[in-house]
C-alpha cells in the first residue's frame, strides 16, 4: 500500500521525487523476495518434521532382519522386503478388523454429524432461559472424558434398557427386560444419537460457533416465505454449512477410526482395527507357530512388524485424506468452517 499511497501523492503533489518512488518499489520487491525465501524454507523444514514419522515407519517396515543392525542403512534398506506386512496382516486379522471398524464407523459418523449440527443450531439461534447454563454444562462435558464415566457406561450397555422401559416392564413380568449391547456397534450408535459420542460436545461447539456467525437475513427470508424452524434448518442452514459438515465428518471419521480406549471397553471379540494394533505384540505367538520362528526371531522382528501394522492401520485414513483433501482444503476457502 506504500506504493499506492505514493502514487496518489504523485498526482496531488508534483514536487515528489520520482527517484523516491522507484526506491520504494525496489524496496518492496526485495521484501517480497525475502518473504518468499523465508516462506519456502519454513514450509520445507516443517514438511520434514511432519513427514518424518511416516518416512521412518515406511523405511523401517520395509527392512529385513539383516538391515536392522546394519549401520550403513539409514533410510533405504538394502534388502527390501514385504514380509513384515504379511505378518502384520495375519496378526491384525486385517480384513475382519477393517470390517468391524467400518460397521461401527459409518453409521456413527453420519448420526453424529447430523445430531451435532442440530444441537449446535439450537444453541446458536434460539433464545431460551436455560441456554447459558446448558452451554456451560456442554463445555464441562468436553473436558470430562469418557474415562471418568466408562465403568457406569459399561454396566449400562451390559444391561441396556431404553429409558428404563425394560425395568418398568419388569414390574409386570417379574424380571427386568435388558439387552446386552456389548460386542456390537450399538453403544456407539446410541451414544452418538444422543449427542454423547466421541467428542460430540466439541462438534456441537464448532457448529454453534459456525451458525452464530451466519447472517440472520437468510432465516428471516425463509420465515417470511412460510418455513417453520425445522424446514429452515433442513433446507436453508444445512446446505449452507457444507464446509463445517465436511470438516466435522473428517474429524469424526478420524476419531472413530483411531479410538481404542472406548472400543476396548465395549468390544471383547469383534475387535476393531485400532484395538487390534494395541494387542498386536501379545499375539506374536500366532506367527511363531505358523512360520516356525524361534523366540529370538520374534524379538528381532517385533518392532518392524509393529511398524508395518501401524502403516496398515493408518493407510485407509491416508487414502481418504488424499482423495478428500482437495475438496476439503478448497471448501475451507469457499465457505469457511468456523466463524
Amino acid at each position: 500500500m506504500k506504493s499506492v499511497k505514493g502514487l496518489s501523492m504523485l498526482y496531488i503533489n508534483e514536487r515528489l521525487n520520482v527517484n523516491e518512488i522507484t526506491k520504494s518499489v525496489a524496496k518492496k520487491r526485495l521484501f517480497i523476495v525475502l518473504k518468499n525465501i523465508f516462506l519456502y524454507a519454513f514450509v520445507i523444514c516443517m514438511s520434514y518434521i511432519l513427514l518424518y514419522p511416516i518416512l521412518f515407519l515406511i523405511s523401517n517396515a520395509l527392512r529385513s532382519k539383516e538391515d536392522l543392525f546394519d549401520p550403513s542403512v539409514i533410510w533405504i534398506p538394502k534388502h527390501i522386503t514385504f514380509t513384515n506386512f504379511e505378518y502384520a496382516n495375519v496378526l491384525l486379522s486385517y480384513p475382519t478388523a477393517i470390517k468391524n471398524t467400518l460397521l461401527m464407523l459409518v453409521p456413527s459418523v453420519i448420526i453424529q454429524t447430523f445430531i451435532c449440527m442440530m444441537v449446535g443450531y439450537g444453541f446458536a439461534r434460539f433464545r431460551f432461559a436455560e441456554r447459558e447454563i446448558l452451554f456451560t454444562i456442554l463445555l464441562f462435558t468436553i473436558v470430562v472424558p469418557l474415562q471418568t464415566i466408562i465403568v457406569p457406561l459399561y454396566v449400562k450397555f451390559r444391561y441396556f434398557d431404553f429409558l428404563y422401559i425394560g425395568r418398568l416392564l419388569g414390574f409386570i413380568t417379574g424380571k427386568p427386560l435388558t439387552v446386552n449391547l456389548l460386542d456390537t456397534p450399538w453403544p456407539f450408535y446410541i451414544l452418538n444419537l444422543f449427542g454423547m459420542g466421541i467428542r460430540s460436545s466439541l462438534y456441537i461447539f464448532v457448529f454453534r460457533q459456525f451458525f452464530r456467525n451466519m447472517p440472520v437475513e437468510l432465516e428471516e427470508a425463509a420465515k417470511i416465505d412460510g418455513c417453520g424452524p425445522f424446514t429452515t434448518f433442513i433446507r436453508i442452514m444445512v446446505p449452507n454449512a457444507t464446509g463445517a459438515i465436511i470438516t466435522v465428518m473428517l474429524f469424526s471419521i478420524v476419531w472413530h477410526w483411531n479410538d481404542y480406549y472406548v472400543s476396548a471397553m465395549f468390544y471383547n471379540e469383534n475387535l476393531p482395527i485400532s484395538v487390534m494394533l494395541t494387542v498386536l505384540n501379545n499375539r506374536m505367538s500366532m506367527i511363531q507357530d505358523a512360520y516356525n520362528f524361534s523366540s529370538e526371531d520374534i524379538y528381532l522382528i517385533g518392532s518392524t512388524v509393529l511398524e508395518a501394522g501401524c502403516l496398515m492401520v493408518i493407510l485407509p485414513l491416508i487414502v481418504i485424506y488424499i482423495i478428500g483433501q482437495r475438496y476439503f482444503t478448497e471448501s475451507i476457502e469457499r465457505t469457511g468452517i468456523v466463524g
Binding site: 516462506l39 511416516i54 521412518f56 523401517n60 444441537v119 464415566i149 456441537i204 484395538v275
Partner: protein, 306 residues
Amino acid sequence: MSKTNSFKKFFGKKLTLRQKEAMYGRLFILPWVIGLIVFFIIPFINSVYYTFQKLSLGENGLEFSFIGWENYIYAFTKDPDYFKNLTSSITNMIYEVPIVVVFSIFVAYLLKDEFKGRTFARTIFFFPVIIASGVVITVLKENVLGGSTSNMVASSTTIFKAENLRAVLINAGIPRWFSMYVVDIVNKIFDLTWRSGVQILLILAALHNIPKSFYEVAIIEGATEWEKFWKITFPMISPTVYVAIIYSIIDYFTDYGNQVMRMVVNEANKGRFEYSTTIAIIYFLVVMIIILIVNRFIGKRVVYLT
C-alpha cells in the same frame, strides 16, 4: 405451520413469539439433553458414588464397601506421584497452549496467501490431524521419539536433542530456570507442531471468511500490513482463536500422553476403578476451573460481528 396449530391446541392458549422461539430451541437441543442426563449425569453421579467406595471382586461379582473420603485423602497425601503430576501438567499447559495457538495463527497466516505449492503445503500441514489422535501416535512416540531398543540404528538418529542448546544458554548467563524452559520447548517442537493441525485448520478457515472489502478500505486509508493484522484480521478471527485456545487446553489435558491421564488409565488397568475415577474427577474439576477462568478473561474480549 400445522405444527404451531397443534401446539396451540395442546396448550390451549396462544404462545407469544418469544415462547415459541424458546420452545423450538428446546426441541432442537432435546436429543442432547436426554443424552446428557442418561449417558452423562447419571453415570457421572454413579462414578462419584464409586469414589467413596472400595471395589473388590467377590463371589457375586463386584462388591462395594463404603470408605468415605479415603480415596481423596490417599490421592493428595499418600500417592507419591499424583500431586506432582497434577501441578506439572498444569504449569506445562500454561506455556504450551500459548505456543501452540500462536504457532497455529502464524502458520495459518502463511498458508492463506497464494503461492506455488500451497496445496501441497496445506496437505502436509493438516496431515497430523489424521494421525495425531489415538493408537498410532502412541506407538510412533515410543518408536520414533523414544527410540526403540531393538532398533539401534534408528535410535541414534533422534531428531531433536537440545542438550547443546542448554549449555550455550547457561554459558550465556541466562537464568537457569528460563533456559530449562527454552530447552524443554525446543525438545517438544515435534510434539507441539503435531498438536496444532486442528487449530491451523480452524484459523485458516476463519481467515478466509473475512470479507475482502475490509482490507480494501484499509488499503485506501493507508494502513500498514501490521495495522491490518491487529485492527482487522485479529479481531475478525478472535472467535476462532477462542475456540482454538479452548480446544488446545482440552486437547492437552485429555491427551493420552499426559502424565495424569496415563495415571488414570494405568490405575484402571490395574483394576482399581474407584481410585482411577477419583483422580480423574479431581483432575477434571481442576481443568474445568482453568477453563472457566480462561472463559472469563478471553470470552469477553471476543468480537462477534452479529
